[in-house]
Every structure is written in C-alpha cells, then in structure tokens.
C-alpha cells in the first residue's frame, strides 16, 4: 500500500521539471535586468531632454553622491544610528507584542476588557505622537525607537493573538488525550500552530519599523538616514535625495531577505506555495 499512486506526486519527470523551472527563472531574471537597464537609460538620456535634472537628478549624479557618501565616516555614523534605532524599536515592539499576545491569549477576560483600549491606542496616528515623545524622551535616539516600537507592537500583538486563537482545537484535544500537560500543549501544539501567524506579523511589521524611524528622524534629529535625506532635500540636492532613497530601499530589501530566510527555515514543514517565491511587503 505504498505504491507511487499513494504519494502526493503529480507524476512528472523531476529532472525535466527542474530544467524547465531553471529556464523560466533565467528568462524572468533577464527581463528584470533588462527593464532596470532600460529605465536607467531613459533616466540618463532623457535628462535635460524629457525632464529637468534639477527635479529628477541624473543616474551619474546619484552615483556620485553615493560614492562620496560611501567614503565618508559621517554617512556610516548616520547609517549606524538608523540601524540602532530601527533594531531596538523593532525588537522591543516585536517582543512586547508577542509576549503580550501570548499572555492575553491565556487570559481571555482581561483580553476582552482591554480590547477597546488597544483599538483606541492603535487608532492614534503614530506621527502625531512625535511631539509628545520629544517631551518624554528628548531628541536623541529614544523617541525614534519608541515610535518604531509602537508601530511594530500592535501588528505583532494582533498577529500573535489571532494565531494562538486560530490553532485547531482538535489538535489540542488529541495532545491532551495522549497525555500532554498544559505546558506541553502550549509548547508543542499552540506555539508551533501559531508560528505562521507570528512570523507573518514579524514580516509585516518590518517596513513599519523603518518608517517609524525615518519619520522620527525627519521631525526631530541631527543624525540618521532620515536626517540626511531631509538635509539633502532642503538643500535642493535631488541627487542626494535619490541616493538616500536607494540606501533605504537596499536596507529594507536586505532585512526582508533575512526575515524571509528565517521564515523559510522555521516554516519548512508547510506545503510549498505554487508559483514564484512570496513577494516582499
């Protein structure tokens, strides 16, 4: 009873399927690189013809700023400041969200009582909190960390809570019948069952951590990538502004890749999703 008909295989020759997939990936990648080159060419040769380089900058100008920044210690200090703010805000918010989500999933009554308060707090536009955060935490790194953390917190909190409530009750029942105690049920059934939700929350909230930090640096700062971006734009240095956008974009994509890697490792048990890899948020 273990013939090929019993497995979940669609019967194609795997070697052929792999070759076809490789070929497909090559075409997609080639198209992507081609599009990038076409856009750069349009930007470069259209500059001064189709649009004013004062507003749009030029690829060579942006490259020059990047080159200059990459050899300036000041740039690395700003990058470091933003990274620290973002890392601390993200970790703090995510840890708080996951822990409180776990606690409130166990204390249903408390969760129900607190529910409208969480909704109300989450309804505050976070940028409007900035003036208050300056009063409380000054103008150093702390207000930006807190701003990022408040954004990350609610996303991971709600995802953790939903994930734990979404765990199939029948799996918990089976674990109980075979003799698992409450602690074992939590560790072996509830947490793994909620892990897809929790990791999704971690993934979704990542860009918000950067948004919180950059906006904070816009408003009140004398260092960081957001400050640098603001400084370039107030000096009408379009090339510098684009350069900072590129840096932030690269930073975000790198972080996304890290989280996606962790996700693939942690959730390797899930059936593979049809088609290409999941898109970044």
């Amino acid at each position: 009873m273990t013939g090929p008909g019993e497995t979940a295989n669609d019967g194609h020759d795997p070697a052929f399927a792999r070759a076809a997939a490789r070929n497909h990936r090559r075409i997609v990648f080639g198209g992507q690189v081609g599009l990038l080159l076409a856009l750069l060419a349009l930007w470069h040769f259209g500059s001064g013809v189709l649009f004013d380089p004062f507003y749009m900058g030029t690829p060579t100008g942006v490259a020059a700023v990047l080159f200059q920044d990459f050899s300036s210690p000041r740039f690395y200090r700003d990058l470091w400041v933003t990274a620290v703010e973002m890392g601390a805000g993200y970790l703090g918010g995510a840890l708080g969200g996951i822990i409180l989500g776990i606690l409130l999933s166990q204390w249903r009554l408390v969760a129900e009582i607190l529910d409208p308060y969480f909704s109300a707090l989450n309804s505050i536009p976070r940028i409007a909190l900035a003036p208050l955060l300056v009063i409380w935490f000054g103008i150093d790194l702390m207000p930006k960390i807190v701003l990022a953390a408040t954004l990350v917190f609610f996303l991971t909190f709600y995802c953790t809570l939903s994930g734990i409530r979404d765990v199939e009750k029948s799996l918990i029942d089976v674990a109980r019948v075979v003799g698992a105690n409450e602690r074992q049920i939590f560790r072996h059934v509830v947490l793994p069952g909620a892990s897809a939700w929790i990791i999704n929350g971690l993934k979704m909230s990542l860009p918000y951590a950067l948004i919180g930090v950059i906006v904070g640096e816009f408003l009140i700062s004398s260092s960081g990538l957001g400050y640098r971006l603001n400084a370039y734009s107030t000096a009408y240095n379009t090339n510098g502004t684009f350069a900072m956008l590129l840096v932030m974009m690269a930073l975000m994509m790198a972080l996304n890749a890290i989280v996606s890697f962790i996700e693939r490792r942690a959730l390797s048990w899930r059936p593979p999703v049809e088609g290409t890899a999941a898109t970044a948020v």
């Binding site: 009873m1 273990t2 019993e6 497995t7 979940a8 199939e168 029948s170 799996l171 029942d173 089976v174 674990a175 109980r176 019948v177 075979v178 003799g179 698992a180 105690n181 074992q184 072996h188 059934v189 793994p192 069952g193 892990s195 959730l267 048990w269 899930r270 059936p271």
Partner: protein, 262 residues
C-alpha cells in the same frame, strides 16, 4: 462475564446555548468486556461523537459516569486512546515525530521512542515515509499514522470515531483488515463508531444501534461470525446477511423517523 473493563452508567449530555437546550444523548448504559471489539451505528445526530468525547474524558457528561475497571474517571487518562475521524497529525511534525509524540510527552528518550515508532510505522506499511510531513502523505497514510500514534502508548481501550470515513472504498477495506489483525495481536479493547452497517458487522463482536435526537441505545446484537474473519468476503456469508437485514430494518426506521422529525 468477568468485570467489564469499561462501564457506561446512564450517560446523558445536554448542550445549553442561548437559544435552546439540545439533548445529545440520554440514558446510555453498557458494559464492554476486556479485549472486545464493540461497534456503534446510528443515524446522524445520534450523538455517537458525544459518547466518545465523554468516554475519552475530553467532555463531562450531564448525567451518569464512565468507569474503567470499576473506577470512575474524571478527565483524560492514558488508559483510553482516541482515534478521531480527522487525522489530526500536527502539520509541523514529521510522521515519526507525530507517532512518537505520546512517548515524548511522557518523557521517554529519543532513541527509545524512535525505535518504537519505527517498528509501528513498518507494521502499518509506512516505512520510508517516517520523515515526511503530513501534507506529503495520502489520506490513507495519514489515517494509519493517526492510528499508530494511539497504538504506540498502548492504551487498554481505544475509541475510534469513523476513522475510515473520509477514505475511498478500496483503502477502507484494506485498513479494516489491518485493524482486525492489529486488534487480534494486541488484545486491546476497541469501541468503533461508524455510519456504515457493513463495517460495523464486519469488524465487531457486538453491534450497538443508537437512535437519534437524543441518542439512545436501541439494541445490541452479537455478531455470530467466527474469528479470524476475512473482511474481504464477509458479505457472502449467510450469517452476515441475516444480521445485516435484521439491524438494517431497525436502522431504516430510525433514519425515517429522523426525517419526519426534521
């Protein structure tokens, strides 16, 4: 009969919602002998799953009690295993880690529990799939995994809630045959719920017939067929046909009654 391993005394269960009270089962009393294979049939809504949920200890009865070897039980016990209709294998665990889970929570070391799990996986014809995740297995393979996960910790009583219900006819009869052989080897006591009267008679020492709304015990019939049985050829035999027709006429009446009630 010596002391029964399992005794149900006047079991009743009401579910109270904000709109109404639903009586699922009423006054269920029966004794099950050690090593017996008891099957239960009834129309849908006869509370079969409610009975098993109560006997497993997951649900408290509204009236009555469940006794194992003369001692009333409250809550789950390792003496009673429960094979549910859905496979309920944890999707994040491989087959071997699912099967070995009951030993893991009992604190048994990895090599010992893997040895036991591998032996059972081989018995169930699943060798080579021990490191597969449930989504990589067919329905029949998952259900076998579900059954050996219960066998691995040797509960003395095993409850089965239509374990072969979701499977196709061929896989069903093969698994019925394997189950009979496992039962003969281990001497475990089985209470097996099914919709399928054919299956109930083919497997059981006795067949309990239940009515619906609320579920009550209508009758219990001894199955006069000798063991070991050939489940593939059961339906040819005179005794099988006679008992089948006899219980079926009663089951038919229950099903029709239920149709009128709705």
């Amino acid at each position: 009969m010596t002391q029964p391993i399992l005794r149900l005394r006047n079991l009743g269960k009401r579910f109270v919602t904000q709109e109404r009270v639903v009586e699922a089962i009423r006054g269920i009393s029966m004794d099950v002998a050690a090593g017996e294979f008891l099957t239960m049939v009834g129309p849908s809504g006869c509370g079969k799953s409610t009975i098993l949920n109560i006997v497993s200890g997951l649900m408290q009865p509204s009236t009555g009690s469940v006794e194992v070897n003369g001692v009333a039980i409250h809550g789950v016990t390792r003496d009673i295993g429960y094979v549910t209709q859905q496979h309920n294998l944890m999707p994040w665990r491989t087959l071997i880690d699912n099967v070995a889970f009951p030993l893991e929570v009992a604190g048994i070391g990895k090599s010992e529990r893997y040895d036991k799990a591998l032996a059972l996986i081989a018995t169930a014809g699943l060798s080579g799939f021990e490191n597969s995740y449930p989504h990589e297995l067919s329905g029949g393979m998952r259900q076998r995994g579900n059954i050996i996960r219960t066998l691995i910790y040797s509960p003395r009583i095993i409850l089965m809630d239509e374990p072969f219900g979701p499977l196709d006819a061929q896989t069903r009869v093969v698994l019925q045959d394997q189950l009979l052989r496992l039962w003969e080897q281990t001497g475990v006591t089985i209470i097996f719920i099914t919709h399928d009267l054919h299956e109930a008679i083919g497997l059981g020492d006795r067949v309990a017939l239940l009515s619906a709304h609320p579920g009550r015990l209508v009758r219990i019939d001894e199955v006069p067929m000798p063991r070991p049985r050939d489940i593939f050829r059961m339906h040819d035999q005179q005794d099988f046909r006679r008992l089948y027709d006899n219980i079926w006429s009663e089951l038919e009446r229950q099903v029709l009654n239920q149709g009128e009630a709705q």
